[in-house]
């Protein structure tokens, strides 16, 4: 049912679809929520402290758990990151790289906010 190969990083310039996910108010300050798009689960973070938005796959590659949207966000040496609630693997929200282990990198997606709505970029 879960296929990690469904999740591929999308670069801003290759976005073909901007998916209108939910109003800004649906995302907690300095926290995340999960968006469903065509069967894919995307974790979206409202990084209020940095005034930035990030999106990545909701799937943690460590034990294949759909969970990252419920993780705590923060930074390591200035790099924004999310920590998986299960075993605290942390991933860069910019590159998706695992910062404290040998897990594979997670896919990241572009986010934009327009007129109070959050959009996620897909390449399909």
């Amino acid at each position: 049912m879960i296929d990690i190969a469904d999740y591929k990083t999308v670069a801003e310039q290759s976005v073909t679809t901007w998916f209108k996910a939910a109003p800004v108010s649906a995302f907690p300050a300095n926290g995340g929520a999960c968006v469903l798009y065509k069967g894919k689960q995307i974790a979206v973070f409202n990084f209020t402290r940095r005034n930035e938005w990030y999106a990545c796959q909701n799937l943690c590659p460590h034990k294949m758990q759909m969970i990252l949207s419920r993780g705590m966000i923060g930074s390591e040496q200035g790099v924004p990151k999310v920590a998986c609630p299960f075993h605290k693997r942390t991933f860069s929200l910019q590159t998706g790289a695992c910062l404290n282990g040998d897990e594979c990198a997670i896919a990241t997606y572009p986010v934009k906010v327009e007129e109070g709505y959050v959009y996620i970029g897909f390449e399909e």
Binding site: A33, M66, S75, P80, A83, D102
Partner: protein, 831 residues
């Protein structure tokens, strides 16, 4: 410019290039590398991790840019087919001819395939390269069972990987025990029991004579006329050095393979060196990476004209990895031809076997083996390698110091030249020097600067210890600051929060921190704020761990558990019925916990508020099973029913639990009240425990179950209830204010200077004069308690947070259950 050509881009060939480039000017040596494999050099030691997610990048030792920026001319997928020693050239299978001044043969080895008829059948594999694993993964998906031929180090690692693929797994071994080269009979027997517990079937004394099947294999046939039907076979029966090129150009080779080298790694042709698994040094082939790296170092030094650095052999100490069972052997593990005194320890119950071999005089360590518990491996290895003196009772080496002072066998006893990281050959002296001279401030920096711990990682515990010791010896106060965002200890932060009346994480970070916070400081600060102000933790939900954020314990698969408070473990039939009804309605798994209450598992996020609405309506409150907070106060039935009971332990337990419910602390708090010294409530294993006496109550503190059980110590004797509660107030507040994050009372008390006597001075004798203040602070905190679940149930905004998708109402569709003994359980970790 000298032309260096390297044949083989494996682990050791790569390391050679890295070392040569680091130690010599680029303009003096050109480097050309030929690698038969179609990819960049990768970490073969961790090859089995490829099964997890087929991630080649994670194994790759260095990216393309590294070769480019170091001016290394790499030819991937190109086999050297011929060496012309007279012309000093090599020729590849594509016909490319390249001259050399110095030639390095790092061709490694290939799996040894025994000459059994049928090894060419479909379904028979070896285990050495990424391509091998790709083939195994593809084939493994179509079949049910697999046998691994060979019960050595590598065979067992392969077997575990096969088991994790979901295959019925067998290990077939020719000898009479597993890991015959590392373990003796007793050790191997313990290991076998553990392996079989994992579900791997072990077949010993099996001489495989034929592999049968029509096209693809279907069974192994053994000399004792038995057979084992399987769909797949992985051969792991040893290695053969790849010395074919050397033989062809008549370099001297060993009778059983391997290119003969001297201590400089030169072959019989002084311009040709051999290093790694292909080299035969003093009759030894080393199938391990650390000796290979040492050989690379010796070769580089010799090429650069430094004849002092010799390779003089290396021991074959190893630790089995990945399989979830500790196994290690070091030095002379058997001492078959050496007079020695063994010390043996066997525990069949726990599955532990330890053996150390001492010299006849009992003064030095010769070697040994560890099964089931290899924590002491690093220090034993060091003790042996450095010839350190043994403790007066050498059995402490396998049993640990029992009682009394622990014998100083820590990193501080090691000599400066002790090799800490064998993969990168970094000594204790080098690590300490780097910490001192470069002012390194974290273990991470030590790793980056010295490279220690960057290989197999086995030495990390020692590197960490060295780091702390060195800082201490430099007179630096080892301040346990929280993380990179706060340069303060927990206690300092608590004081800041209190003095400056700070009420939010963001405010504290703005005023006293830097960066954006992380998963370490956020919950730690959340705990401080909660302990001081006890406001609802839902107010700042995103600084909490997931359990505290959703007020429930997360479970495998991402569902949550629900634990209502059952103070003192006392519950009415009606309330039991409500729990049963709720569990039935929401299809929850139910279990009696070890804390005298009931846990309901498997609730989807969106169901939590509905479930709690029903529980709250029936008079239940949150049990805080998710929080670093008061958990349970267990009780025994006490004087109301029990013929020995001295006082009413149930009523007192309920009173205590209701008093401290919701109290947040650096770690969880547990308590119990027993009605007499028979102690049925196990109060002496709790953070604070109370036992009835003829004259009143005894108060014990600092007990702990868990991984390091510890009995609580008597703080006050024969006190009345009111005094007892006052002492508990003081004790808990003092702990909350001074403990490091995530430190239970037992650990805190163990580290408290002055120990129990000092604690009694503070709590009972009030030597600091803060007794009343602590009581007052406790009262203020307890006064503002309210059940956070009641709050959520009645607040639509808070309720709205409990859903999986922001743009849909459905639960997470990937959650799956199966049924065990008529109840649901999660299917396990995702695949």
């Amino acid at each position: 410019m000298k032309k260096v050509v390297v044949i083989g881009n494996g682990m050791v060939g790569y390391k050679f290039c890295e070392k040569l480039r680091k130690q010599a000017d680029q303009s003096h040596y050109s480097i050309t590398v030929f690698g038969e494999e179609p990819r960049l050099a990768y970490d073969r030691v961790h090859l089995s991790e490829y099964f997890l997610n087929q991630n080649v990048d994670a194994l790759t030792l260095a990216p393309h840019q590294w070769y480019a920026s170091n001016h290394i001319d790499l030819h991937k997928g190109e086999l050297v087919a011929h060496i012309d020693r007279n012309q000093k050239t090599v020729t590849t299978h594509r016909g490319l001819q390249v001259p050399y001044d110095t030639l390095i043969m790092a061709t490694g080895s290939s799996p040894f395939i025994p000459s059994i008829p049928g090894t060419d059948k479909k379904g028979v594999f070896v285990y050495r390269t990424i391509e091998d694993l790709d083939a195994i993964i593809a084939y493994g998906q179509k079949v049910k069972s697999v046998a691994v031929l060979g019960g050595g180090l590598l065979g067992l690692e392969a077997a575990k990987a096969m088991l994790d693929m979901g295959l019925e797994t067998h290990v077939v071994e020719f000898a009479s025990r597993l890991m015959p080269r590392q373990l003796d009979d007793s050790g191997a027997a313990i290991l076998q029991a553990k392996i079989e517990e994992l579900g791997i079937r072990v077949h010993l004394l099996k001489n495989t004579q034929a592999i049968t099947g029509n096209g693809k294999l279907d069974a192994l046939h053994f000399a004792d006329d038995t057979k084992l039907p399987v769909d797949m076979l992985v051969i792991s029966a040893g290695i053969r050095p790849r010395d074919e090129l050397a033989r062809e150009c008549q370099l001297s080779t060993g009778a059983r393979g391997g290119i003969v080298v001297n201590d400089h790694m030169q072959t019989s042709d002084p311009d040709i060196y051999a290093i790694g698994e292909v080299a035969l040094h003093r009759e030894m082939i080393y199938g391990l990476v650390a000796p290979g790296y040492d050989m690379a170092e010796a070769a580089v030094q010799h090429i650069l004209g430094n004849a002092d650095k010799l390779f003089q052999g290396n021991d074959m100490s190893t630790k089995l990895k990945l399989i979830g069972i500790d196994v290690a052997s070091f030095g002379d593990a058997f001492c078959t031809d050496q007079p020695h005194l063994p010390i043996l320890y066997t525990d069949h119950k726990k599955g532990i076997y330890k053996r150390v071999n001492l010299t006849k005089d009992g003064k030095k360590l010769l070697g040994g083996m560890l099964v089931g518990d290899a924590e002491a491996y690093n220090i034993l290895l060091q003790t042996m390698q450095n010839g350190l003196a043994l403790p007066p009772d050498p059995e402490d080496l396998v049993l640990g110091a029992r009682g009394g002072e622990s014998q100083g066998m820590g990193v501080e006893c090691l000599p400066e030249e002790a090799q800490i990281c064998s993969c990168e050959n970094v000594s204790k002296g080098a690590i300490c020097q780097a910490i001192q001279d470069k002012g390194l401030n974290s273990v991470k920096e030590v790793k980056a600067c010295t490279k220690a711990g960057t290989g197999c990682g086995g030495c990390m515990p020692m590197v960490t210890d060295l780091f702390h010791h060195t800082l201490q010896s430099m007179g630096k106060r080892v301040r346990k600051t929280l993380c990179e965002h706060f340069d303060y200890t927990r206690q300092e932060l608590l004081d800041l929060v209190k003095v400056e009346d700070i009420k939010s994480y963001e405010a504290l970070l703005d005023r006293h921190g830097k960066g954006d916070g992380c998963e370490i400081c956020k919950p730690a600060v959340a705990s401080i704020l909660a302990s001081l102000w006890n406001e609802l933790i839902t107010a700042q939900d995103t600084i909490q761990d997931t359990n505290d954020r959703y007020l429930a314990n997360i479970q495998k698969g991402g569902t949550y558990s629900v634990v209502p408070r059952v103070a003192g473990g006392e519950i009415t039939p009606d309330k039991l019925i409500v729990i049963g009804q709720v569990a039935k309605k929401y299809n929850l798994y139910t279990k009696i916990t070890g804390g005298q209450r009931i846990d309901l598992f498997g609730a989807h996020l969106h169901e939590l508020p509905d479930i709690w609405e029903e529980l709250v309506a029936a008079g239940f409150e949150s049990g805080h099973a998710y929080g670093k907070a008061l958990r349970t106060v267990k009780s025994c039935v006490g004087s109301s029913w029990c013929r020995y009971g001295l006082h009413d332990s149930v009523s007192f337990a309920i009173e205590i639990e209701n008093r401290y419910k919701g109290l947040r602390a650096p770690h969880k708090l547990k308590s119990a009240v027993s009605g007499c010294i028979r102690e049925c409530a196990e109060a002496q294993s709790k953070d604070f425990g109370i036992i009835a006496t003829e004259k009143g109550w005894n108060l014990y503190v600092g007990g702990n179950g868990g991984a390091k059980p510890q009995h609580a110590q008597l703080l006050a004797q024969d006190v009345d209830k009111e005094t007892c509660i006052r002492y508990i107030d003081r004790f808990l507040m003092f702990y909350i204010k001074t403990a490091e994050p995530l430190t239970r009372t037992a650990t805190w008390l163990n580290k408290l200077e002055g120990g129990l006597a000092y604690l009694r001075d503070v709590v009972v004798n009030d030597c600091l004069g803060i007794g009343e203040q602590l009581e007052l602070e406790m009262q203020q905190t307890l006064a503002v308690y309210s059940c956070e679940w009641k709050e959520v149930v009645n607040n639509p905004t808070l309720r709205a947070r409990f859903k999986h998708f922001v743009n849909g109402e459905e639960p997470d569709p990937t959650v799956q259950f199966e049924t065990v003994r008529e109840q649901k359980v999660p299917v396990g970790w995702g695949k």
